[in-house]
Symmetry: D2
Subunit: 270 residues, 4 copies
């Protein structure tokens, strides 16, 4: 891997710590939570307050949604970003949001604390180069069919443009299994740690697609050594415009956080 991953290889032994406010990503265990999509102000603010109360460290929420069908809800765009800005003001939570077009990187950076690259855009090299020039950390999701090496090459694209703050995110790969929406590949957690200096987080919501599997797989991610989780929470999942079956409601998320935090603490004594 060495030649194609020269920056990752060079700095393998220096653990990358990314600071956002008080949070030290790569060192502190962190939880990013929030709705799949920003649907309206009430939904977003209520959800933001709930996840803050439960102990989440950042707020996630999509303003630009890459959807399989051109006729599905595509996100609120700028209006959604302004709602996220308000949620940040009210809760103090930094914002993670997805960017899907190279033209949007600079102005979305004014609203986002972390820029997310989704699985379908993992190999959108123009977009990778553009976020590589931004002054915001990038959360890079693994493509649905990509190997570790391909994923790390995409991180290298970002690093090679000068942006050293990349967070890798395992979100499940496509397999023949249909019981789960994707197959969450937790072996990528120790694999990323072996090969890179970058933090790695796990998305059990997309990774399983089933609410009942999110907690066991999150605990597994913690035990495997993940630096954090990114979890979908909606103030009222029954009416969610996307990903109904995998969003926690606030009460479920509260219990979930207690278990995750407890295991995270216990792991320090292992």
């Amino acid at each position: 891997m060495r030649k194609d991953l020269r920056l990752i290889s060079q700095e393998k032994d220096k653990k990358t710590i990314i600071e956002i406010g008080d949070l030290r990503i790569g060192e502190d265990f962190m939880v990013i939570a929030g709705p799949c999509a920003v649907e309206n102000e009430k939904q977003t603010i209520e959800t933001a307050k709930a996840v803050k109360k439960a102990g989440a460290n950042m707020l996630r929420g999509g303003a630009f949604k890459p959807r399989t069908s051109p006729y599905a809800f595509q996100g609120l765009g700028l209006k959604g970003l302004k709602i996220l800005e308000k949620a940040k003001r009210e809760t103090g939570l930094p914002i993670v949001t997805e960017v899907i077009d190279s033209r949007d990187v600079s102005w979305i950076s004014e609203y986002a604390d972390v820029l997310q690259i989704g699985a379908r855009n993992m190999q959108n090299f123009s977009l990778l180069k553009e976020v590589g020039k931004a002054d915001r950390p990038v959360l890079l999701k693994r493509g649905m069919y990509s190997t570790l090496k391909e994923w790390l090459s995409c991180a290298e694209y970002i690093l090679s443009e000068g942006n050293k703050n990349v967070i890798l995110c395992e979100r499940g790969i496509r397999t023949f299994e249909t019981y789960t929406r994707n197959t969450l590949d937790l072996s990528m957690v120790p694999a990323v740690k072996e090969c890179t200096h970058l933090p790695v987080v796990v998305d059990p919501s997309h990774g399983t697609g089933r609410k009942s599997l999110i907690e066991p797989m999150s605990l597994a991610a913690v035990a495997a050594g993940a630096n954090g989780l990114i979890v979908e929470v909606h103030n009222n999942p029954e009416v969610a415009m996307s990903d109904k079956d995998q969003q926690f409601n606030p009460e479920e998320f509260l219990v979930f956080m207690q278990h995750v935090r407890k295991l995270s603490e216990m792991m320090k004594n292992l």
Copy 2:
């Protein structure tokens, strides 16, 4: 499929014919040929003349190359387009070239007769919307892991923006097989014909990754009913900057074309 693919479903029975000069894509069997990447003027012009002489109908050649590694040759960009323009002037062959960034669609359209969307960008929805607004036909490659339905949804993105001229291109999917670079899924040829009104072509070069398999798989594509082929040819494959193992030299391509054309004719009498 009906709701998400409403334009494709509505027009299923009207066969789409795309006219470029004298060529009627969807009706005439066509062969697109040329180098993987535009490397320099001599290579491109020589290759263009060779494929013209062998009977190709269009010239392919990448000026912007999506590469797994940031350190691999990324294409000549505008300079490459100008070389393609010259090749077109000298041979009369229309140009098919890839676009990888939504910002580039309008000006690349001045050089290209057909805009190609590569497999890795199949679900780059911003790019799809942009080529949907262009006045050039789009050759849409199937993603390496995507289903027919996902692929057609991407075509629907383009159609829904007003561009009715979409050519679908099967280029192989990722499987566990390692003998071939990808697994060319020829069943997509009759499947596309069953579900849509759009022309479908086959890329046996990327679909197999082995020169020795290109002819048998091209003949198979013809027998399965494909509307055309897109094949990599290089004036000197040994020194090619990419895809060495799957580019024909001019002599090989000449023999190949004779067999393909002959079968294509014979199929009319089946």
Copy 3:
């Protein structure tokens, strides 16, 4: 591959011809046809007569069916073999039938002209060794997820026990595509010819799972150079106990055979 495939490698240049009656498999293009399962005498005899009339060279029919569910029809066993024996007597067609248990190889060999190893048993090494000792040719289907190398290793198991008469059968692999039941990997036809001396046939019925795709994919298989086809035909597919959607009725098979035979003849002049 050489060390693990020593018999295949040694004899790569000697084309294996398997003689069954007048038929020379590997030289003559052949079609094996018949029902998925032997259900009763009337169904089997009628189907056998129909495929004979249409020009098939061998009769297929399962007496032992490997089924995903323990509660699905498991085949008629010995009774099914006796029905096949009668069908052979009445039509002269040699019999291809599946063996699924190492204990059954010797006595099934008394009824079968060719022993079939199904995809799920491709790596049932005990069974491979047993058919390797039998004096009947073996039709070895490729496993649903197996690579060319793994498949050929299974052929090597049979060869290494002394049975030189192995026919390889591509029947589709599992991929993410759902439009087709499996993905028929026709590139295996030229690949097998490059790596071995063995005949290779194609099963478009299981390979597509859709009646409408069987003819185009069969023509493609012929064009790719396959030595034959194995196709499911049922005297009355609507009441078939398995594989309803992919069995031809006699009239459909008759038309199919005319097209296949015509292309097979035309290919000699390519």
Copy 4:
């Protein structure tokens, strides 16, 4: 799933506990450890003593090895079983060993406390029926490409023959990832618990194929709720006849067991 999985569905709420000596599988967390293959008496006895000392609950070891190549070491057969018998006598550890041929089930049952069905034989239905008639618990590995439903249908085959003592074992599925040998699908642990009453164990040795990943993935399996682990240990991995890269030596296994046991205890307080 209900109709095809009627026994599993009926008894879903009655947790199956399988007793072997003092061990209550499905209730006690258990670790099965031992060499990939029984190579000779010294290797097996030494390894058995080492895993016993480290706290393993059962001894694994293959006497019949399903190997991709016919020329690879196929196991010691009966001689291997006699060595396992001696190891049991010296350590008191019950024996788990693989059966690969329906003819061998009855006599191997005299040596084995648990009969293992390997991934390649998961859909060897003749073998499943035979172990379904045996009076030994069966450890059923998931096939490399199989879905949860297909796997559970194979368990149903065993249950439907009268043997109620089935232990499911997730051992990794084939994906496009090459960094790991297989992709360990830990989501199957909570999925099996949702759908069945059967114990489920995890094989991180085959599931990762890399020694460095075995501990993090084992901890993850414990956190996900697995009922146990099956781990490869060899008294001297450097000279192992198979699976060199994924077998612990006794010292590594000792440390591993301390971490696993500690987490297993801590999970009770979560």
